[in-house]
Amino acid sequence: MIISSSFRKFLTVCAVALFWLLVWEGVAAWVGATIILVPPRMAFARLFTLAQTLEFWLAIFTSLRRIMLGFALAMFTGIFLATGAAASKIFRHIILPAINVLNAMPLASFVILVLFMFGRENLSIVVPFVMVMPIAFHNVYKGITTTDPALLEMAHVFRVPLWKRIRYIYLHSVRPFIFSAATIGIGFAWKSGISAELIGVARGTIGGYLHRAQISIQPIDMYAWTIAIITLSYAIDKCFYLMLGRGIKNDAHNL
């Protein structure tokens, strides 16, 4: 029987997953206390039950919408500020300390500040924004400033207009840095967004439900929500890579 390479890959993934589930089940049986370690079958069974409720999907939708909004805003702002910083030395000197402060600030302190300033509802927009924006800024700034000076000199000699320099020289140089920032940032946005919801006890969100499971000592719920978070994180990553991959292919086609 001939097995295709993609099917073989699928079988390998299934076998590895099964191995770790068995390890988890075995350790849980050895511990013998669901309060400490919930067996996977209980966690998955609870997830299946939760998935049949409207609340579950509303929480996922709310968290996703807010976190993705924060991420998108962070990417746009990072690109905009990096362009300004590359274009003007004064602007760079003004903006850099602020970006560095945001970069160094611990998530917990920031969540408390945001709670006071923006309220619980906006936590999962503002926190991912703050986590991702410096990444976007630094990546794009590096992309702009490492643009081939020989090409820029050539464009200068031929008096090529700015829009053409941006379209044909800068964009080509910056694009891989934007993709890199986006692929790193999406994971950061998701994790920080959920953490912010948890710390800030944002109602009707994934983090909020995770917090409820924690304070009401429902470890099975906690595990079920955690599996949902990991699955969503994986799905977002995959979707994003697919989108970027298509973007890169389209670029190649257009060129």
Binding site: A155, V157, Y168, L255
Partner: protein
């Protein structure tokens, strides 16, 4: 067209003098600049292009002149086609497309018009860079070793193409070369450094 006059030009880089008290006149037609490697030929060309300024002396006659340049390196947009590279320096790409294709075809690149620069050989890249310089709207054309990397079969056709282009229009052409045969083929004034 007024000539470009170099008067007592000196230029140093990090304290190392490259050009010292240079006097030269570039008039309409071809001026071939010869000299040993590292003597400052490209620095001279960059002064003409306005890419650098002299430490001492004056350059007269550059005002209002547009410069076109075949750099020592090709400086092509590697991810773009040969045609896009040529059109990159034109104000109206649509209008200039037939002329760009004609130039590329004349340079023996008719089959490679839509090939990305990254896919072209060294000689093909050089010819693309030359076509780009020729299509630009210029008063002064600087050619820094324009035939570098061209094989002996292609070179005469490119020299001929350049000569035709120069004869058609009244421009100031500065050609840097190491090869006396190229100077003879192009004609014009020889300037030794």
């Amino acid at each position: 067209m007024t000539p470009i006059i170099f008067k007592n030009i000196s230029k140093s880089f990090n304290g190392t003098p490259v050009l010292v008290n240079i006097n030269a006149v570039l008039s309409v037609g071809i001026t071939c600049l010869m000299g040993q490697s590292g003597i400052g030929k490209t620095t001279f060309a960059n002064l003409v292009a306005g890419l650098i300024l002299p430490d001492e002396g004056t350059i007269a006659g550059l005002e209002g002149k547009r410069v076109s340049y075949v750099f020592q390196e090709d400086r092509l947009l590697e991810h773009e086609s040969a045609l896009v590279n040529v059109l990159f320096v034109t104000a109206d790409a649509k209008k200039n497309t037939p002329r760009a294709i004609a130039l590329l075809t004349q340079a023996g690149l008719g089959e490679s018009v839509n090939k990305k620069a990254a896919e072209l050989s060294g000689g093909m890249k050089r010819r693309t860079a030359l076509c780009r310089a020729l299509i630009a709207d210029y008063h002064v054309l600087i050619l820094d070793e324009p035939f570098k990397g061209l094989d002996e079969e292609t070179k005469p056709a490119i020299v001929e193409m350049l000569k035709q282009h120069v004869q058609q229009e009244e421009k100031i052409i500065l050609c840097i070369t190491h090869d006396l045969a190229e100077v003879e083929a192009l004609g014009g004034v020889l300037l030794r450094m």
